[in-house]
Symmetry: D3
Subunit: 61 residues, 6 copies
């Protein structure tokens, strides 16, 4: 605890994801006063045909 | 905003998904008084072995 | 099935929410080829201090 | 209703998943006083590169 | 891990919720081969005006 | 995009939450290569009777 879910388009590299969970975990620790070892991060990737803004999917643009 | 997530079994065509996000976005705009360009839709697909009703997965029926 | 979650700021009236679930359900039926009685809608409301865009909460703007 | 989501690392067998939804459904019925046929279970699987504890992904350990 | 979310209508007693998390945790342990101390359960309660089946909220029935 | 959800026990101050969304947004920008204005953060608070680890709710400990 806390549990952090990051939902984003697929396509980031493993290096980017590795850095993402490190930095986000650090940000949560510092501000929410939680021990680092208790912070959990989930990454959820979306594909462009499953994500729409303004009624239009990214795959249709 | 609003953010709409539609969770359903896999198997719909791209045309169905395209129409789904269009119609759902329109429905949200009209009723929640939100500008169309602010409405976000996520589609999440489930497989039959990851969805159960009454204790039985669809893949076991 | 499908299961639809609509996440939005608190403040809509009961009439708006009633219309929202009706119209969204109709939109899903027509496009995802699902029987109306199977469509489930959840409304989740956020407060302005729990929602941030660009690093700034709505309550801080 | 209730709707139960079980999020776990990928790798369980179909037999394990089948038993999981059966036992979880039974547990919910007995304690939440819900008819068995109304209980819905979703399984969501994570991969090791999308799950981090303490700022480190399982795939980096 | 696993992380279990139980979404249900508000109204259960504290005793019911206590039993629910115990039994669900036990069910997950036995079937997913996870140590009991690693199983996390979240309860999410819905009100009747935020839950609709077939386009009709429970509060409108 | 990305969309970040931080789920944690209730009790943080407004100042903590304000700093949390700022720092988390910054962390996501830097690592996921996303423009700051596109990053969305949701805070979800849990009460101690709706969160259990190892089959025991925090409110029962």
């Amino acid at each position: 605890m806390p549990y952090v879910t990051v939902k984003m388009l697929e396509g980031r590299t493993e290096e980017q994801k590795k850095a993402l969970v490190e930095k986000v975990t650090q940000a949560v620790c510092e501000t929410a006063n939680a021990p680092k070892e208790n912070v959990v991060v989930f990454i959820e990737e979306m594909s462009k045909n499953h994500y729409a803004v303004g009624g239009k999917r990214l795959s249709d643009q």
